[in-house]
């Protein structure tokens, strides 16, 4: 039973390491329904990790039993294996352990490092900036800087920051749109959706899919925040208001183009603007449910492959 399981998991892992993320990154439907696409990306990430580690584990523990739970129990209780243990079993076990530790370790490390940076940013902001009530409602901080910038720092006490350059560039309705967009990020905890992909991109620099997945999630999170912001905006043409704000913020930074790997090209920004100016047809309910069902199935598949042989 076990070799077949290991093979099936291996095939699934290979699919999730390359063709599936590539197809999802290339697909055009995600911009019509960013939320469903975000769910799919999370499922791809989770199922990918589960199946590659599962495949290695199942193969490595094969001599100890006929199903993973059984073999695992025999292994941790130091029982003798039923079949002779070859070198490749040890290699697979070691790889599974290393990979699991790396993925979880990098995730934890990335989380801790991010939390520390945020704490420092927050302390700096609280020192440099007086809370202002001039721009748009509530706890918006006004940072004195000519570049038009808006951002938020997530956390238990989230902060929303507008630069004076941004306030100078935009009118009241546009500022409201910017603030609504940032609030959407905070309310839906988009930083948590992005965190695993930031971490795994760092953990698996050799895997192009990790890059693709990260960029895909980053762009979708922005589109989702645009969609949520639109719902709370009044005015004659909120879509256009938000689009104008985006273009002003993107173009006004004059020469401040980041040159590192994190540079944002015109690509995703143009997609955002285009889908604001001409609203894409929402995904039909059937297609949306199909996407969500595939995401759920994707997580269940490796789980079942790992556990089912113990039952049947």
């Amino acid at each position: 039973m076990l070799p077949a399981t290991a093979l099936a998991l291996g095939v699934l892992a290979a699919l999730l390491a390359w063709p599936v993320p590539a197809a999802l990154a290339r697909a055009r439907w995600p911009r019509r329904d960013p939320l469903a696409a975000l769910v799919c990306w999370q499922a791809v990430g989770l199922a990918g990790g589960l199946s590659i580690i599962g495949a290695l584990l199942v193969h490595g523990l094969a001599p100890w039993g006929h199903s993973l739970p059984e073999a695992w129990w025999h292994w941790v209780t130091w029982q003798d294996s039923a079949e002779p243990v070859r070198g490749d079993h040890w290699v697979a076990q070691t790889l599974a352990a290393v990979l699991a530790l790396e993925l979880l370790g990098v995730l934890a490390l990335s989380g801790v490092r991010t939390a520390r940076t945020r704490r420092r940013h927050r302390a700096l902001l609280e020192l440099l900036v007086r809370p202002s009530d001039t721009p748009a409602q509530g706890e918006t901080l006004l940072l004195d800087h000519p570049a038009p910038v808006a951002f938020c720092i997530p956390g238990a006490r989230p902060l929303l920051v507008l630069s004076s350059g941004m306030v100078a560039e935009l009118d009241g309705a546009q500022l409201d749109a910017v603030v609504a967009h940032e609030r959407a990020h905070l309310r839906e905890h988009h930083h948590l959706l992005l965190l695993p992909f930031v971490a795994w991109r760092a953990a698996l620099p050799v895997l192009p899919a990790a890059d693709r997945a990260h960029d895909g999630v980053r762009d979708l999170v922005e589109m989702r925040a645009d969609d949520v912001a639109l719902r709370s905006l009044s005015g004659p043409d909120p879509r256009r208001t938000l689009a104008v704000a985006i273009v002003a913020a993107a173009g006004g930074a004059g020469g401040q183009v980041p040159d590192g790997a994190l540079a944002v090209t015109g690509g995703p920004v143009a997609v955002r603007v285009r889908r604001l100016l001409a609203a894409p047809d929402p995904l039909p309910a059937r297609a949306r449910w199909a996407a969500l069902a595939s995401a759920v199935a994707l997580i269940f598949l490796p789980t079942l492959l790992l556990l089912l042989p113990a039952v049947v």
């Binding site: 440099l128 940072l143 910038v149 990020h185 693709r212 993107a250 980041p258 540079a263 143009a270 100016l277």
Partner: protein
């Protein structure tokens, strides 16, 4: 009753404005109209020091100096926010990243009603 953050800001403002190192007693005197206890000033100063905003010298009584100017702190923050420090995740939700001049022109053309040259720049990646 001012909040702790407000007090920290006030003390830093004083220290940034001061020509040289300042002791806690001097700060308390400068802020006499607020009626702060000396222990309060000390508490706030040590918090600021823990956060890395102040250094003190070895005299008695200790005198405090800001570690960097206000402008340097602001520049450091913006540097990271603009993504040049390579740690974008921390300030995740920057509204829009900067784009180069060509892309900016294309975006403006989009707004103006043109269909935007290179409409597949976004799809191909």
């Amino acid at each position: 009753m001012a909040s702790l953050g407000e007090l920290e800001r006030t003390l830093m403002d004083r220290l940034w404005a001061a020509p040289g190192p300042v002791s806690a007693t001097e700060l308390q005197q400068q802020l006499a109209d607020r009626g702060l206890a000396l222990t309060t000033v000390h508490t706030v100063l040590s918090r600021l020091e823990q956060k890395g905003f102040l250094v003190h010298d070895e005299r008695r009584p200790r005198r405090f100096t800001p570690r960097a100017t206000r402008e340097a702190h602001a520049a450091e923050l913006m540097h990271e926010v603009l993504g040049q420090a390579g740690d974008r995740q921390a300030a995740l939700a920057r509204f829009v990243g900067s784009v180069d001049a060509e892309d900016a022109a294309m975006l403006r053309a989009l707004l103006a009603g043109g269909d935007g040259a290179g409409s597949d720049a976004a799809g191909a990646r």
